[in-house]
Amino acid sequence: MQTPAPVDYAKATSVADALAKLQEHGEEARVIAGGHSLLPMMKLRLARPDALIDLNDIPELTGIRIEGTEIVVGAMTRHREILESAILAEHYPIFREAERLIADPIVRNRGTIGGSMCQADPSADLSAVGSALKGSAVVVGPGGTRTVPLREFHQGPYETVVGPGEILTEVRYPIRPGAGSAYEKVERRAGDWGVATSGVYVVVSGGVVTDCGIGLAAVGAEHYCSPEGEAALVGKEPTEENLAAAAAATAESCSPNADQRGPADYKKHLANELTLRALRRAARASQGA
């Protein structure tokens, strides 16, 4: 039987209340969102916080809305809401394609985007999506509110810029009219972490790629993205040859580790192939095909 070590618990009712409770319980307190990463780690004693501050009953942290030129997703928004969101489906099909492959429907009822982003697992699909879309994170703490580009949000495996006493409250994605987007993933079985994943957006205008973003998970891509792959494509026509060159540059920029999911060269091959497939579909979508 796996049971977490003794821990204090407090339910927060607002962001201000959560920040106050974090202060009150000290540096070894942790916020808990859906709990589907933190609780398993607590059962295994990989995490042993003194106190849990529960964010599940803070309405201001949930929901998906458009604000000006951005889509704003509250940190406590569940995977299922992201999967079913009409706003995200309209602007960025990449979310729906990624979410369909995250865990299973029951876990998606509970897991949150903020929890996933802050867990910072190197295989996290939503981290790859966020870096692909060049979004930003809103982090609130005792010192005020700051906005951090998602490509600077993760400091390494399981590490983010969110400090003790701070909370991620929102993730924001710029809306790009005419963008196509797609997500590709190879997993060993339904609902598993990816062996490799790649998600992209592409804007084709006047016959050339004017803008694109390439995000990857599980393949050792720094900050879950490949500026090298993007640079290889911007300004070029979206021909099969040019897409393939960008995919190759993307794979070249990755440094995957061999593990139980596969050897490094296989993962690199997947980074190439999955990026190419995603780029093809996103470029076609951007051209209205």
Binding site: A5, Y9, D54, I106, V107
Partner: protein, 161 residues
């Protein structure tokens, strides 16, 4: 700490350690053993119940997180002595062998049919993809859920009763 949790319409107040998992609260505090405790790692889905009408794996939620919430377990499926069509379907189609995954499968199936009364086979398989049957009896489980979709009469009579 003290929690008050409504389970199948009945309010229960208990004093529990914050680290107690919801599945143990249901089984060991309330002695309701319909909810099964399986892998303990949110993989198998045997412990699935509803929190505010959404299926949740109760091995990966603390009881204190359910304070003030309304929970439905497999014991809450039958109404007024009438089996839920999902339960009837499992009988009609031999949807269980050892029975370990059955409560989680049923809770997922009912939730699926409530949202999508006429699912395709693929939608059913997707709907129960968070539930593992180690007897590998998926064919009959899918048939049982399809049966329930095709025979919603019991649920309808419940609504009109």
């Amino acid at each position: 700490m003290q929690v008050t949790i409504t389970v199948n319409g009945v309010e229960h107040t208990r004093d529990v350690e914050p680290r107690m998992l919801l599945v143990h609260f249901i089984r060991d505090e309330l002695l309701m053993r319909g909810t099964h405790w399986g892998c303990d790692t949110s993989n198998c889905g045997a412990c699935t119940l509803w929190v505010d009408d959404e299926p949740v794996k109760s091995c990966t939620m603390l009881a204190v997180m359910a304070d003030g919430k309304s929970i439905t377990t497999v014991e809450g499926l039958a109404k007024g002595g009438e089996l839920d069509p999902v339960q009837q379907g499992f009988m009609e189609c031999h949807g269980l062998q050892c029975g370990y995954c059955t409560p989680g499968m049923m809770m997922c199936a009912r939730a699926l049919l409530d949202r999508n009364p006429h699912p395709t086979e693929e939608e059913i398989r997707e709907g129960i993809s968070g539930n593992i049957c180690r007897c590998t009896g998926y064919k009959n489980i899918v048939a049982a859920i399809q049966w329930a979709a095709d025979n919603p009469a019991a649920a309808q009579s419940e609504v009109t009763a």
